[in-house]
Structure formats: structure tokens, C-alpha cells
Symmetry: C2
Subunit: 190 residues, 2 copies
DNA sequence: TCAATTCGATACGAACCGTCTCGATACTAA
DNA sequence: TTAGTATCGAGACGGTTCGTATCGAATTGA
């Protein structure tokens, strides 16, 4: 790779991190609706153009920031049974506190901007989906999933409940809920 | 009631309908992200102030428009079995075509504006949720739902999958999907 | 030394926001 | 008929954010 051997001033890693941190801070303090590129630049001590040079939109900044700090902690449990794996996956997912404002903001942006929606799906949503798909495939090999059950529908049930509760905030998203959901999915799969 | 016996020029029903229709037309033609109060007013041949006098935000206009034309077609099937009732409810729901842009726009707005989120939940989401809760209550009376199963979690499974597929648009939301989901829920409930 | 590139900063036009004002219109009450 | 009241369409207004363009300074490789 000759990527970082080009002439000219190199990209500032310090500024990059300052922008990502400023985006998360602004988002959690004032909410996604109040988030602006100008606000991020001001808090980061950077120019607007520096942001637009590297990210197509503020949503991409937030997505990068989240992926950076989450470091893709997609654990793929393998406890030997679908019930244990599912419960582990859900409890592990629900344990991540304080991410709701970020996730809700990213989803809102994805609903409004089809271009960003692709980024959001490919770089975040489908990653976690693939992890759970692996879990289901192992369960199918063990005969825990009936032949007439579409694994994709099971995936949609798990992530559907997860996102529905996250977005509406009408019911808890805790370990108890995780165990409940895991039990029902195991039963549905037969 | 003396409500429509006040002094002064009465509210124009024609203008009200023109605004609601203009909102839906603008939304479906250009998308929710491009929807503006100025655009609605221009297309409706109305003044901006006329919109702001009756609705707090553009999202409330869209919500009113949708509730107006949908006329709250919340059917509560009663076929004698949970399987049949669920399949009926889902197939009936999925049959409503062309509503995706409207629903996605309303959800996006609800995620960004907590005040509107309350309107959205109370005037739309909870209405359909109540209908399905009635279906589940009857099934419970018939002994089709195990005692250890929380009906609220079953509701979240149904609406979770519905909204997850609607928002992400990664899998079909057709009658086949409805039957599949109904089968799984019946199994989960035992 | 020189060309290339990024940096922070700021100016710019465009769009839309929500408020306000205007004269015209349509209704009630006296 | 007249006075009072509320709505109507239209548009001006200041404010905010957008995304682009431009500036001189800073930092690199050749």
C-alpha cells in the first residue's frame, strides 16, 4: 500500500477523533434532531469543510463514531443449545446502555435518506444479523429448528422486537425481556 | 354543542381537505425528507398561517391525512381460532399498499420529535395494538395461550416484525409472510 | 525549493423554519 | 343594517442550517 505516502499534508488523526467525539457528545447532549454539522465542527474545533471532505453527511459521522467505539463487539455465542445461545445474544445486546439516542438517530436518518440507509444496513445492521444467523444455522444442524420454519423470519422476530421496543420505548429492553423472547423463539422454531 | 355557533368566519372544510390531500401528494411524490410546510401550502393553494393555525407541525398534518382516509379500518377478526384470527389480521394489514412512504415518514418524525411521538403512538399505533390485544385475549380464554406467556411480548413480536420489515424493506410484507408469522406466533404461544 | 494536500476560518446563496401583518371574506349578534 | 370577530390567501421578516467556495497557514514528498 502506498496510501499514506502521497505528497501533501496528511490527514490529521487527532482532528478525525475530535470530530467523532464531538458528534457523539452533541448527539447525546442535545439529541439527534438538534445535531448539525456546524455544531459538530464548532465543538471539535474544526472547520466545516474538514467534515465535508471526509464524510458525506452528519449521519455518516455518527455511524463512524459508533462503529469506532463499539469496535464491532458482535459476539457469536456457542453454548450448545438454541435457548442458551439466544438468551446470551439478547442479554449481551441489551446490556449496551446509553446507545439508544445514537441508534434511534441513525434509524431516523436511514428512514429519510435512502443513500445513508444502505450504509446503515451494510455496515451495522447486517453485521449483527449475520452473527445471529450463524447461531440459528448451528441450531438447525442440531435439529432444533423445524424444516418448515424460515430462519429469516426468526431473525426478523428477534431484531423486530428489539428495534420495536427500542424505537417506541413502551416496554423494557432488559435481561428479563431477553429471556422471555428467547423462550418464545425457541418454542416457535419447535 | 355550540361549537360551530361561534362568531367570525368559520373554518373552511374545503381548505382543510385541500391541505391534507396536498400533504399526501407531496409526500408520495417527493418523499418525506423533501416535505415542507411551504410546499404543502403552495400545492393546496393555502397560506402557511392557515396550516400553522390548525396543526402544530407538518407531521401532524400527515397523520391527520392518513387517519382521515384510512378511516381507522381496524378490523378485529373473530374466526374462532388464534391461527385464523392472526392470519386474517396480518393479511388484512399487509393488503394496504402504498402506505409505506407515509408510515416511514411518520415514524422518522416520531423518532426526532418526542412531542409528535406521543400523538403517533396514541392516535395510530396503540389503536392497532388494542385490536390485536383483543384477539389475543379471546385466544387466552380459549386456552390457546400458555399461562407463562406474556401477551404483550406476543404483540411486540407481531408488530415488531411488521415494522422491522416495513422500515428496512429487506424482505417482503405479503400474505405469505403473514401466514408464516401467524404460524410461528401460534406455536410460540403454545 | 516547490508542488500537493489538509488545516481552521469564514463568506456566500439557497431553502425552510415559525412569526407576524395585511386587506378581504364570511359568519354571529344586536 | 351595522358592528364585532375569526378565518382566509399572500407574503415579508429574521433566524438557522445547508452545502460550496475561497483564503492563508501548515505539513508533507520530491
Amino acid at each position: 500500500m502506498t496510501g499514506d505516502r502521497r505528497p501533501g499534508r496528511p490527514r490529521s488523526e487527532a482532528t478525525r477523533r475530535a470530530i467523532l467525539a464531538a458528534a457523539i457528545d452533541e448527539l447525546t447532549e442535545r439529541g439527534y434532531a438538534q445535531l448539525s454539522v456546524e455544531g459538530i465542527a464548532a465543538r471539535a474545533g474544526a472547520g466545516k469543510q474538514t467534515i465535508y471532505r471526509w464524510w458525506p453527511s452528519k449521519a455518516d459521522v455518527v455511524l463512524d463514531a459508533m462503529l469506532d467505539e463499539a469496535a464491532s463487539l458482535i459476539a457469536v455465542p456457542d453454548e450448545g443449545s438454541l435457548a442458551a445461545d439466544l438468551a446470551g445474544f439478547l442479554v449481551d445486546t441489551f446490556r449496551q446502555r446509553g446507545q439508544r439516542p445514537v441508534l434511534v438517530g441513525l434509524m431516523a436518518e436511514a428512514l429519510l435518506d435512502p443513500v445513508f440507509a444502505v450504509q446503515f444496513r451494510d455496515r451495522f445492521l447486517f453485521g449483527r444479523r449475520d452473527a445471529l444467523r450463524t447461531v440459528l444455522a448451528r441450531a438447525a444442524d442440531r435439529g432444533e429448528i423445524a424444516a418448515d420454519v424460515d430462519p429469516e423470519m426468526l431473525l426478523d422476530i428477534v431484531f423486530g422486537v428489539l428495534w420495536y421496543r427500542l424505537l417506541l420505548d413502551h416496554a423494557p429492553l432488559d435481561e428479563e425481556a431477553g429471556r422471555q423472547l428467547a423462550t418464545l423463539v425457541v418454542r416457535a422454531a419447535r
